[in-house]
Structures are given as structure tokens and as C-alpha cells.
Amino acid sequence: MDRKRRTNLLWNQQQKIAPYLFIAPFYLLFIIFMGYPLISSLVMSLYEMRGFQSRIFVGFGNFTDLFRDPIFWKSLKNTAYFAIGTLTLQLPIALLLAILLNSKFVKGKNFLRLAFFAPVLVAGVFVAIIFNLVYDQRAGLVNQEFILFGKEIGWLNEENYVMPAVILTGVWQWAGFNMIYFLAGLQGIRQELYEAAAVDGANWWQAFIHVTLPSLRPVIAFVVVVSMIGSLQLFDLPFILTNGGEPADAGSTIVMYLYKNGFQFMRLGYAATIGWVLFFIIAIISIVQLKLLGIFRDE
């Protein structure tokens, strides 16, 4: 009797434990590779390190230093500049491409889709190297056009042109990728809606404003939020394109400044602080965007 009962008990226990064991690997990995580093970086932001062993508690000292640091503000401004450029230039271009590729009049859609999508398959480092040649002051593709008007622009050499050059490179690299999302969204809009709009006498523009855009809202919200997060985390493109953010930090971004502090200046506490400030900036902007785009609204 005892044996039978014990087996039953074990079986019951096992039934209770088994699901947790099945999901355990994910949580273990998450705790080791995400949870622990996150908490440890939060703790680190309250300390300052010097050398490989010494550290000292500074409380919110790193945060107050950061808000008084002009290079941080300049990096934040540059990052915001890029994010706004992405929002106002890259995403409209992506939407326009998607609409063109979704229309009946364009031929060779498959080829064009692949062509526009292809840049995203190229690693950021290579994109930066390619565009270094494109923006070449003497022989670059861009200046070959501008020289005709008598102006040889140092795209990567003059403060005011650095961020526009980075934004244009971002458009080349990412517009095709976002186009795919928009295209999927466009293909999901029911044809009947357009037919009903046509019956009501709507022209192409009215149909776009009142049918296409509202139907694309979830896709737009997703693309905007994801692009914004990507923009705020910008690093490799300007780092290589401008050779570390010069001249005069005109190409410096928040993540670049974080990298410099952590790895070049060995100020790991300060770098962790920049990381957490960036996290809060991204969180706030994303929530505001999702609210504005009505994602939290009950349909």
C-alpha cells in the first residue's frame, strides 16, 4: 500500500514540478545573461571605478555629473537630430516606396522589393565604409554632383554636414526594410474599403487619408517605435563614418559617448549611468508614441 501511495505522491509532485522545469532553461539564461547584468549595471551606475579593482560609492553623483556634461548634451542633441531625421525623412520615404510597389502600375515588383530591401543585409560597418567613399570630398559620388555648382562640401569634415550625412546614409540603409512592414500592412487592407470609398466619391488622396492611413495605424505605430529605439541606439554608422564622432563631436551619439566612457576612458560607472539614462529616455519616448498613436486605445 505504502509503495503504491508513494508512487502516486511522486507522480503528483512531478506533475506539479515538470512545467517549471520545462520553462526553467529560459529563465535561468535570462537571469544569468540579462537580469544579473542589468542589476549589476544599475549598481555600477551608483559607483565610480578606477583601475581594474577599486571602486567607490558615489550615489547619484554620476547622474548629476552627466546632466552637467556638455558632451552628453551634444550627443543627445545629435541623437535626437538623427531620430527626427528618421521620423520625417526615412519613414515617409519607406511608406512612399511601399505604396508605389503596392500599386498596379509598377512593373518588376519582386526585383524592386529585393533591391530596396538589400541594403539592410549589409553590415553597418560596411555601409559606413561604402558611404565614406560616397561622401568623399574630392571624388565622392555626392560631391561629383555638388561640385557642378562650385561647392566642394566636406560632408564628414564640416560640423553642419556630419549629421545630415549620417541621416541620409540611414535612409539608404533602412528605408527598404521599413518599406517591407508598410507593404505587408498595405496588402492587409481589405479591398472593399476602397470600393466603398470610391462609391462615396472619394478620390485617391481622400482614400489614402481616410482608408489607408487609419488601416495602417498599428503598422505605423510599430515601425515608428522600433525605428525610434534603433535611432536612439545609433552607434556604428557615425562611429566609423566620422572616425569617432569628430570634428568637434559633431557626429557623437549617446551610445558612442557611452562606449568612449566605458572602454576608452575606463569610467565604467559613468558609462553605466549613460546607459540607464538612455533606457529611461527610450522608455518614455516609446510610451508617449504608443499613446499618441492610440495603441492603448480599446477598439
Partner: protein, 452 residues
């Protein structure tokens, strides 16, 4: 027919997991089951391709001379310094021997003296009598607080490389140039609008205003620097301010300098401008001549070189730019063996002569300088024996004192130079502000830690 004891269908959850399990077992066997190679391993990290190729060719000789020693050369390229930093920070995984670049070493020297992750090589250098055999000023970038953490790979003396044909066409004989005043006078003749369209077509010199490279070279040439030997900030000294005034005047007052095309002197844009004849001269360390030869071979025969113009008659005709060291990390288990490999790669005369053949880098070991190769005519310079010029200048190299704050300081110095050249600040304002920022940074740490 042979059958597995379990078949795919009866394996729990089917075929997929079984394949994964088999792959897992095979890879585990591969990783842990490798028979340990007999003998001792020396791990050696490198970041420069040319160095890696050189050591790849020479390490088998060392291994043959030292039976039982296996040298593992690992070339991490540009990311090596970050990997080394992580390894030292976690106190695990650092190599035995490593090469470090001159602008990167500062960050490894932060913290208390005992926290530095490199072995002090001064006792070995002194007891074996190496100090006198090398150029002593070249230890300064790798030394701090009395300890020497690395052996210099190079000297990197700087010369003035110039277009003899174009200067001659402007009526200037460059070999007669002795001082910077002479150069400015010559530069004014050679900086010209050739086609009369109101735009300058050729500039006497190209200088980098984005980064510290050229300005700092000029400052070092006069014995100045950012930090002095004791670690004090001296970038707002009269010498530093006057040098920056001179540097900005070359652009704005004398108008004989053009900013570097592209992002640095090795940018394709800059090479294109050279080929167009827009640039007549450049301050060139030995390694830069190597880059020119490989990147712009079509300009062979067009360049000549002289020592840099001096700041006053009989003044120093060179400076130094760039550099690499080799060091032994504290994680190395057998520093004696690592020291042997270090000596083999850095102090072997025949190896150093080979190095010059491929990279044009002049070695710090004086005994290597009398090799015939350094006197050979250089085709790229129209037959001028460039090695001889470099060696003639080498004993006069200025010191370049290292400091743990160099990375922060250099980053801010870049901004100060750009602000001065673009006339957003006067050189005095730019350097005074800069010095204050770096001093504040150091003072803050001083408050926190009680020592530098």
C-alpha cells in the same frame, strides 16, 4: 543490418531533439576531448595585420629553438584593446603577451599602481643591460610612476615629405629649408591659384584640424606635451598656446595649409588630393610612408623628404607620432618564457631588418641601424635613402609622457584644436578651457580616491 539501440521515432519528442542531442554530444567531445598538446602554450594577442604577418613567419623559428613551446598568435584587429580591457577587468582570459597601441595604453594605467595589469619590465631591462641598447626617450609612452610596462615596437620619427617637382616649379628649393619661418616663406610662394579662377589650386601643406595628430606632433617637437613627466597638465603652457597660434596661423593668416581631405591623412580623399597636386607636403612618420607606398603606388618617384623644419636654427628636426608596445600581462603564468619570446620578436637584429623591408618601420634597437638595408636608395622617393634620414633623426626623438587620462585629454584636445582653427575660440581660450576641464576631472578623482 546494423541498428541503433534506439530509433528516431521512439526517442522522446521525436527526431529533432535526438539530432540536437547527438550534435551536442559530438561538439562536447570535440571541445573537451581534444588531446592536450604536449608542452607549454604562450598566447600572444596582436591588433595590427602587418605585425601578425611578420610574427606568423618568425614564430616557427622560435618554436624550433624552444622545443615544447607552442605560441598561439591571435590577431583581433581593432577590437583587441576592448577585449584586453574586459579580460583584465574580469581577471580572466588575458593573454601572456600583448601588443598595445600608444593612444590606448593610458586607460590600462588607471588605478592604484598595483592594479595595473602589466608586469613591470624595468628590472629585466636593467639587469640585462637593454636600456642602453634602445632609444631611451621611446620608453616614456609606456612608462608611468617609475615602472615600464612595455617595450617599444618602433620609434616613428617624423619627416616632411614634399613634392619636389611642384615646389621647384614654384621656385622653391626645399633642401634649403631649416626653420618653420623658412617653410612659411616657401609655402607662400608654393600655395598658388594656377588657373586664375580665384581659388587656390595647390597648398604648401596638409594638416589635420579634426584631431590632435599634427598639432601634438608640433608640440612634442619642441619638448612640450599634454602632461609632464610627473603627470601635471601643461597643455595651457605658453609653449602649447604659441604652438596652437602657429598652427591656426598656417590656415587662417598665412593661408598655406589645407585641412586634411576626408577624415584623416590616410583617407582616400586625401590621397586623391595628393594625386591631383593639391597637396605639396605632409608631416609623415615612417609608418605613413609605408601606407603611401601601398595605397598610392602611382606616386612613386614624386616625393622627397627632409627633416621637419626646426623651431629655431639648430633645433630638433623631428618629432614622433604613433607607436606600439609589447607587454607581459600579470595573468601570464610563465613570465620568463614570455620574456624570451618578447626578446625574440623585438630585439633580434635580423628580424628587425626584415620588418623594415615590409613595413618601413625603424626599430628602437640601435644595433640594427647599421644594416645595409637602411642605406638603400628608396625608389618611392626618387632614389633618396629614406631609412638613412630616419636613422639620422632617431636619436633626437622627443619624449612623449604617458598618462592614465590621455584618452579623455586627447578627445577634448581634438575639440579645442578644431575650435581654434575654425576661430570659435582663440588658441589661448581653447587651451585654457581644455586644461581646466582636464584638471577638474583629475581633481575630482583625487578627491574621491585620495591619490592619482
Amino acid at each position: 543490418m546494423f541498428r541503433l539501440p534506439i530509433d528516431a521515432e521512439s526517442f522522446p519528442l521525436g527526431k529533432g531533439p535526438m539530432v540536437m542531442l547527438i550534435l551536442f554530444l559530438i561538439s562536447t567531445l570535440f571541445i573537451f576531448g581534444r588531446s592536450e598538446e604536449q608542452g607549454e602554450d604562450i598566447e600572444f594577442w596582436i591588433f595590427a595585420n602587418t605585425h601578425y604577418e611578420e610574427y606568423q613567419a618568425r614564430v616557427p623559428i622560435f618554436e624550433a629553438q624552444n622545443p615544447g613551446v607552442n605560441v598561439q598568435l591571435i590577431n583581433f584587429g581593432g577590437t583587441m584593446h576592448d577585449k584586453l580591457l574586459t579580460a583584465m577587468l574580469s581577471n580572466f582570459g588575458a593573454p601572456d603577451l600583448v601588443e598595445v597601441e600608444i593612444t590606448s595604453i593610458g586607460r590600462f594605467l588607471k588605478g592604484a599602481i598595483n592594479e595595473v595589469g602589466f608586469v613591470d619590465l624595468r628590472p629585466r631591462l636593467e639587469s640585462e643591460g637593454w636600456m642602453d641598447k634602445l632609444v631611451v626617450s621611446r620608453f616614456t609612452p609606456w612608462a608611468y610612476r617609475g615602472r615600464i610596462y612595455g617595450i617599444p615596437h618602433d620609434l616613428h620619427p617624423v619627416v616632411l615629405l614634399y613634392r619636389d617637382d611642384l615646389f621647384k616649379a614654384a621656385g622653391v628649393e626645399m633642401t634649403e629649408i631649416e626653420t618653420w619661418d623658412d617653410f612659411i616663406a616657401a609655402g607662400k610662394k608654393a600655395t598658388r591659384d594656377l588657373d586664375g579662377d580665384g581659388k587656390i589650386d595647390q597648398y604648401a601643406i596638409v594638416l589635420d584640424r579634426r584631431t590632435e595628430s599634427d598639432y601634438f606632433s608640433l608640440l612634442l617637437q619642441q619638448g612640450g606635451g599634454f602632461f609632464d613627466e610627473d603627470g601635471n597638465v601643461i597643455i595651457d603652457s605658453e609653449l602649447a598656446i604659441e604652438t596652437l597660434e602657429f598652427f591656426t596661423a598656417l590656415f587662417n593668416e598665412h593661408k598655406i595649409a589645407t585641412p586634411v581631405y576626408g577624415t584623416w591623412h590616410g583617407d582616400p580623399s586625401n590621397f586623391a588630393a595628393m594625386q591631383d597636386g593639391k597637396i605639396l607636403s605632409i608631416l609623415a612618420p615612417d609608418w605613413y610612408v609605408g601606407i603611401l607606398k601601398s595605397q598610392v603606388p602611382q606616386m612613386s618617384g614624386k616625393w622627397k623628404a627632409i627633416g621637419m623644419p626646426a623651431w629655431h636654427p639648430d633645433g630638433r628636426r623631428t618629432t614622433t607620432r604613433g607607436g606600439t608596445m609589447i607587454g607581459i600581462t600579470k595573468q601570464c603564468e610563465n613570465p620568463d618564457r614570455a620574456w624570451e619570446l618578447l626578446k625574440f620578436t623585438y630585439f633580434d637584429r635580423s628580424g628587425l631588418v626584415n620588418r623594415y623591408e615590409t613595413t618601413r618601420i625603424i626599430p628602437p634597437l640601435k644595433a640594427a641601424w647599421n644594416a645595409p638595408i637602411f642605406k638603400e636608395p628608396d625608389v618611392y622617393l626618387g632614389g633618396q635613402p629614406l631609412g638613412e634620414l630616419f636613422i639620422q633623426l632617431a636619436p633626437d626623438l622627443p619624449p612623449r609622457y604617458q598618462n592614465p587620462y590621455w584618452s579623455e585629454a586627447a578627445d577634448l584636445l581634438n575639440d579645442a584644436i578644431f575650435a581654434a582653427v575654425t576661430e570659435k575660440q582663440t588658441p589661448r581660450e581653447a587651451l585654457t578651457d581644455l586644461a581646466e576641464k582636464v584638471r577638474n576631472l583629475m581633481a575630482k578623482d583625487m578627491d574621491r580616491w585620495g591619490e592619482m
